[in-house]
Subunit: 197 residues, 2 copies
Amino acid sequence: MISNFEKYLKANAGVTDEQFKTLSEGLKLRSVKQNEFLLRTGEICRNAFFVERGLLRSYSIDKNGKEHIVQFAPENWFISDRSSAYFNEPSEYFIDAIEESSVIFLDNDFIRDATEMIPSFRKYNEYILHNHIRHLYKRINILISDSAESRYLIFVRMYPDLLLRVPQWMVASYLGIAPESLSRIRLELAKRNFKSG
Amino acid sequence: MISNFEKYLKANAGVTDEQFKTLSEGLKLRSVKQNEFLLRTGEICRNAFFVERGLLRSYSIDKNGKEHIVQFAPENWFISDRSSAYFNEPSEYFIDAIEESSVIFLDNDFIRDATEMIPSFRKYNEYILHNHIRHLYKRINILISDSAESRYLIFVRMYPDLLLRVPQWMVASYLGIAPESLSRIRLELAKRNFKSG
DNA sequence: TTTGCTTCTTAACAAATGTTAATGCGTGAG
DNA sequence: CTCACGCATTAACATTTGTTAAGAAGCAAA
């Protein structure tokens, strides 16, 4: 059976059948239960995770014990703490599974070898990295520019699928607001749409 | 005269004298006046900028015409729109000079050639990139976790030097709050410090 | 079923932040 | 010098968001 990851590498990175065969020997596919951790604060991140099936998230916990979701990773997304992996520093984030998932583990050695051996994999990795940066910038820009309601509407437009899979309090956490506030915002939106429609 | 950039490359990237000589032929050092633009919304970003002296910033402008500062770049910092440069897409950001500055222009061709020819430059570039990502994550985490006052205090701790060089409304813009709110926050902090001290 | 747990909602109230407007202060241009 | 301009402050008020508390709905385990 061809994995999403294989499809992705071949389609986006120009990796050949043969190259993938070489690569895939270093890959581990693991099943991850709901709420199972792939990374905890204080650990050094030793893998990048590619989500074959399911849904992961990364988040931090502040001094008051509140969770703040940094990223969601549904099918065909990467998630990791690149900084921790690159700088060999303890991570400040958790990564766990929101849904039962299938995850490909790419450890640091694997990534290093693959980028050195397969130029198209290096390209792909660079592409991912820049795409990632683009997302981070957009996120920051939204956080400093838009109101909570506006941020929610943007989220709905960007990730309509996630909206249906993720508990609402996690969306609130991602947006940087209290879950009760999101409830209220949704109520207001519903009222307005009802009036105007 | 040895530029900061040269010092940086030699110290951090292990670039040799000889390599730098080769490199430097493709480099342009330019003087940039206060308020002069290096990038505008809609343009494709064709350079990375290294600040030899002075202070640059990048920012966006929203539908209501308000500026939102994404990054400050004082001496020895890079600033660019990597996404625009990498994906060849129109930028959504402006870059201009807060102070009269000296800036090294590294155009995309230069960076491509240098990374291909000089392995240590590639390493350096990767290092910069990962460091950049680390900053972006930290920024996002702060924006979704902390109050305006807390964000201000973090800014003061992280960039005490910038605080003295940048008009206060720009700090507010960077923090994602109104300048009047920052004024109020500073007043409250001063009251509290006065009482407790 | 019953129980307990989590999520979501709602309301009343508190706190934080935005808006508007007026004022003062410096500083550079004329 | 004087004027105009940009920046900072302050206050009153409006709006947004957080907090607390209570209850309802769904759902899974006992």
